[in-house]
């Protein structure tokens, strides 16, 4: 029965971390106190996107968008909005310029330029309720495949839609399926890669938490297409909520006969098992992922043979990313032409990005391929806080690169990002401003890859370590100009000779920052200076004689007693003892300490 108001409280990971559930529980209590249970439908949904504003809530049919909710707001919202129909303006989202109140969610700039296909259900339905998924055409695509289509027709449809793998590399999904279908053998497997390991990426997590059935349906469709009756979802151990919701969804799908023997009375049988990873970044690489599903150390193996010929337990295997799978039902239901109409010549459809770093609206966004980085950062993301200058956008995590501000108007697709020396990657998009040091960023990603290298091939194991040593030297102010050429040479060798994608792409963050921000490297080397004031060894703290009041606050905070001076007299830092920790800078209330 349709109720008077649908109240959607975001239950995405970020909103839960901001205590959305305390608010929801209080709201339920207040609604009960006012005997409104029959009129108000309160639903906890998956991620709505604007994580920075959480906990958030939308009230339909009018679409009022509440932000930063606290349990104590529930009383007023129920009494004024739910009972009297007057949304509580002070809790609604307001446009920053005019303090104008925007009552409708879709008029908010963060949502305006987005185009939600994969995330259509995320934030709109209760992810733990199969009926809500079915009510939004859920499992219709699978039913159409089983009743009206042959596996070859399904593959042709996906091929002509132009869908490419959303995990990063962008391999055409239809082609991958065709290869696996053609491989000989009765037993085949499909695997969902939900080992979202790029730091700064949380798209797959949001999909699994917000719309788990769309992934299950996608896997069943791919199983039908390639002739597999068994599948595995390989998901990170760091995502307990995603695992829980996926487990629940699997049980519901089995109970409803949407997984198991003879699905929808067809002769197609299919079931899924969850495999939980154990914290190894390299397991996102497909051969390593398969080794890990089999219960071994997650070490990559050479290709060929490709998984489509010899994959899990040496059987033909198709591995698709979460977002790729979540696209499938839309392609089957709305057709290949509909999908191919979105995006650019070679990159079709939409892409989900996890927007974070130094940007006003952090969160989860879905945009059509071909949109520019500028539109994402400034229109959807609301620009850089504190009116700072944008320096670069990092895409593709440790395998990607930094795209400088001058290329912000490039339309995003797989090819254009590769041309700029980065990659599409799985969708992490980190905004860097003038306060971020690019040498430090390169070092950060390299440290990550050094730690995550599985160690079996020497270019990656030894080469990356050597590159890191050079970078460490530079950030300590001990670099030499030749180091930059050495870095480039080592990077070239590692890219050319590493066994798997991790090693082959690990030098990218160094190469792209060297390409666009060589002057920052040179400042570290020639002037022993970190322009962004990030590399601690290169920062000098001095006390300004005209501002120092002799309050002794800095001297008391200094952990190495490098500051001397008597009460009410000017203090001095002994640069020979100073460890550049910045404690004095934080402690000074008179801006008397200069940081350079």
């Amino acid at each position: 029965m349709k109720k008077r108001l649908d109240v959607l409280v975001c239950g995405g990971a970020a909103c839960i971390a901001s205590h959305s559930q305390d608010f929801k529980n209080r709201l339920i209590e207040v609604v009960k106190d006012h005997d409104l249970e029959d009129e108000i439908n309160i639903i906890e949904t998956g991620c709505m996107g604007p994580c920075e504003l959480g906990p958030v809530m939308v009230v339909y049919p009018d679409g009022a968008f509440y932000i930063r909710l606290k349990p104590e707001y529930a009383q007023r919202i129920v009494e004024e909005h739910f009972l009297k129909g007057r949304p509580v303006e002070e809790f609604l989202w307001q446009a920053p310029e005019a303090r104008k109140i925007v009552e409708e969610k879709r008029q908010i700039p963060f949502f305006e330029k987005q185009h939600k296909v994969v995330l259509e259900n995320c934030g709109r339905i209760d992810p733990e309720n199969l009926n809500e998924y079915i009510g939004n055409d859920g499992y219709q695509a699978l039913a159409r495949c089983l009743t009206e289509m042959t596996p070859d027709v399904v593959i042709d449809t996906v091929t002509s839609s132009g869908l490419r793998g959303r995990g990063g590399a962008g391999f055409p999904t239809g082609l991958k399926w065709k290869l696996a279908r053609r491989s000989a053998g009765d037993v085949k497997y499909v695997v969902c890669n939900a080992d979202e390991g790029d730091p700064g990426a949380f798209m797959d997590r949001a999909i699994l938490e917000g719309d788990p059935h769309s992934v299950i349906e996608g896997m069943a469709i791919s199983g039908f297409a390639v002739g597999a009756s068994r599948g595995f979802v390989y998901v990170r151990a760091e995502y307990p909520l995603a695992v829980r919701r996926l487990r629940r969804a699997l049980e519901q799908a089995r109970e409803a006969g949407l997984l198991g023997e003879s699905i929808l009375e067809s002769d197609f049988s299919f079931d899924l098992e969850i495999r939980i990873g154990a914290g190894a970044f390299v397991c996102g690489e497909e051969t390593a992922l398969m080794a890990s599903v089999e219960g071994h150390r997650g070490m990559p193996s050479p290709k060929p043979p490709y998984p489509s010929e010899q994959g899990l337990w040496e059987k033909p295997t198709v591995i698709n990313n979460v977002e790729t799978l979540a696209n499938l039902r839309h392609i089957i239901l709305k057709g290949a032409e509909w999908f191919a109409a979105m995006g650019t010549a070679k990159s079709k459809g939409t892409k989900v990005f996890a927007l974070s770093g130094n940007v006003t609206n952090t969160g989860l966004v879905e945009v059509p391929m071909g949109i520019t980085l500028r539109e994402i950062v400034y229109d959807v993301g609301g620009g850089i806080p504190g009116n700072k200058a944008l320096k670069a956008v990092q895409t593709g995590g440790p395998s990607g690169g930094c795209i400088p501000a001058e290329h912000l108007d490039t339309p995003i697709d797989y090819e254009s990002l590769a041309e700029l020396g980065s990659i599409m990657g799985s969708g992490g998009l980190i905004v860097l401003d003038e306060d971020n040091c690019m040498v430090n960023m390169a070092k950060f990603f390299l440290e990550f890859c050094v730690e995550e290298s599985c160690g079996q091939c020497s270019p990656c194991r030894i080469g990356l370590k050597q590159m890191l040593r050079v970078l460490e030297r530079i950030t300590r102010g001990e670099g030499r100009l030749e180091d930059l050429d050495d870095l480039e040479r080592m990077a070239g060798t590692i890219k050319a000779t590493s066994l798997c994608g991790l090693g082959q792409s690990a030098p990218n963050p160094v190469l792209s920052t060297l390409k666009y921000f060589r002057d920052e490297y040179e400042a570290h080397i020639r002037e022993k200076r970190c322009p962004a004031l990030v590399c601690t060894d290169l920062i000098t703290y001095t006390i300004l004689a005209d501002k120092c009041t002799g309050c002794t606050a800095c001297a008391r905070k200094c952990p190495v007693n490098a500051i001397s001076g008597e009460v009410k007299k000017i203090h001095v830092i002994d640069q020979g003892i100073c460890i550049h920790c910045g404690a004095c800078f934080e402690a000074c209330k008179f801006d008397a300490i200069e940081r350079r």
Binding site: A17, S18, C51, E238, G279, G295, H296
Partner: protein, 167 residues
Amino acid sequence: MFHTEAHAPENRHYEQLREFIREQIDKPGPLIQVLHRAQEIFGYLPMEVQDFVAREMNIPHSEVYSVVTFYNFFRTEPIGDHIINVCLGTACHVKGAQLILDALADELDIHVGGTTEDRFFTLSTARCFGACGLAPAMMIDEEVYGKLTVDKARKAIREFRKTTEKK
């Protein structure tokens, strides 16, 4: 958690694990899932537990050890009753996660990876738990604390200890 009990050769925890292994043994490639369960039961995976898993699954101990040491998630040392994970993902990194980590190490007077003397807290780091919108972030057990400052982080662990000890 049950640190000492891992060393007693036979007890109800091993019985629990044995039961789980029996359920899993016929599934393909169950070792990692078994180790997850074992770590849930014992809190960590000492040699005794690894050896038990090897015998029950009829595989070499070396194979179990090789898998345990490959993955970051598996621990061979006991940890405190509560684990603090400071996220060092990219978004947290650019927003000063290292400062948070240093401050907590100072507050608890332990190194990263260490455990407080009273075994209450272990201080650890995480790769990115996908709460980038709340950067910089940390988790105490399963609860996420976001938009941290050095002071907020210090206060959070003090309060956590106070409220937990009251219970």
